[in-house]
Symmetry: C2
Subunit: 222 residues, 2 copies
């Protein structure tokens, strides 16, 4: 029996989408965030790092979105709904790239952005606030903004050439990319990236995505 350990408003929404796309049976264990918006300590009983998503398949306890998606593609994907056919080399190269890029490059930049944006929002004496703002905006300007612009332009170019991230068919690469793009779309207007917006519209129309969203919710800013 597959059990998805789902943390509300987290990357685990991806795995619900993948499981719905596969059409397999699974149970959902839901975890609420702490008042600090962190994962609760109870998740550490399932996996030592206590980060969502975690997928249990019998004895196996799987973590890391990309690794879980690849596991599902190998173990449950007879109809090839998650991964392009091995013979389609271009699709496989794209599939793998975006599967790794989503967390390795994109999501890590978004976390840095969130941490630095939050600095001036912390409680602090009024005379410290301008310094905190200065530190935050310097890192945004020098580190985050140029990288984010490059990444969004690159994604936009790619989606101008491809309907989905790995080509003509939706795949786990789209599932993996959906979380950072959805998260970013809540804090930033993506109107200047029409191909990304088109793709996000496609995502929201996918029946398996909709079934997952009905069960575990869509990502909301918090």
């Amino acid at each position: 029996m597959l059990v998805l350990h789902h943390l509300e408003n987290s990357r685990s929404q991806r795995i619900a989408w993948a499981l719905e796309a596969l059409g397999v049976e699974y149970a959902i264990e839901t975890y609420q965030r702490t008042p600090d918006k962190e994962a609760p300590a109870t998740l550490k009983r399932v996996h030592p790092l206590g980060h969502a998503p975690i997928l249990q398949d019998g004895e196996l306890v799987l973590a890391e979105s990309g690794a879980i998606l690849e596991y599902l593609a190998e173990a449950y994907d007879e109809k090839q709904v998650l991964k392009p056919a091995a013979g389609d080399k271009e699709a496989i190269v794209n599939y793998r790239y975006w599967l790794h890029f989503a967390e390795g490059s994109f999501m890590s930049l978004l976390i840095i952005m969130m941490l630095f944006k939050n600095i001036p929002k912390q409680p602090m004496p009024f005379f410290v606030k301008p310094v905190a703002k200065g530190i935050s905006s310097k890192v945004m300007e020098k580190f985050v903004d140029p990288r984010l612009k490059d990444m969004l332009s690159y994604i936009e170019d790619h989606l101008n050439q491809q309907h989905w991230f790995a080509g003509a068919q939706v795949s786990a690469a789209d599932i993996q990319m959906s979380f950072p793009v959805l998260a970013l779309s809540q804090s930033m207007d993506l109107a200047q990236y029409p191909a990304i917006e088109r793709w996000l519209g496609q995502v929201r129309k996918e029946p398996a995505y909709q079934r997952a969203a009905a069960k575990v919710g869509e990502f909301k800013p918090f």
Copy 2:
């Protein structure tokens, strides 16, 4: 012909190790960091994001360490030196997990650590320094340190049970994990993690790692 676009002191050292392990012919194009320690703009002529590593295989331009390693495992690894046999399910689950964890979780935390540690080192008026230090140490204490401790304990536990990350044989999971562990070992004493130190010793004794280090150097703090 394979061409490794190598940025000095960067993740591209991993790919040199993988190529040496495979025993394939390849050329190295070396790029120097800018005075700001960034990748030079010339790397963007090879790949739009301009981040190392980049591997060219004829017309194909590949990026993201994890995706490159998986590509090499598929296209050049007849002797199975990079990836465990498909039948060894436990090894494959571990292989995939660490391949994704290395960048998706571990490396992204190390970049956050580096950014926040650097804040108080920036040039600033003396009266601002205590505020910068306070902001930096608060994030280190609340965000970075607990996560880093969890991750290192988890890695230590794993390496107490397994000789290499995916089991008895060295694999691309070790190659992928080598960069963050090497980088961390330069700024932190890992003596309280003897299994990690043992593994790092094994890495440095691997003939393919040594051949790669002779060609492109080992990671040095900068």
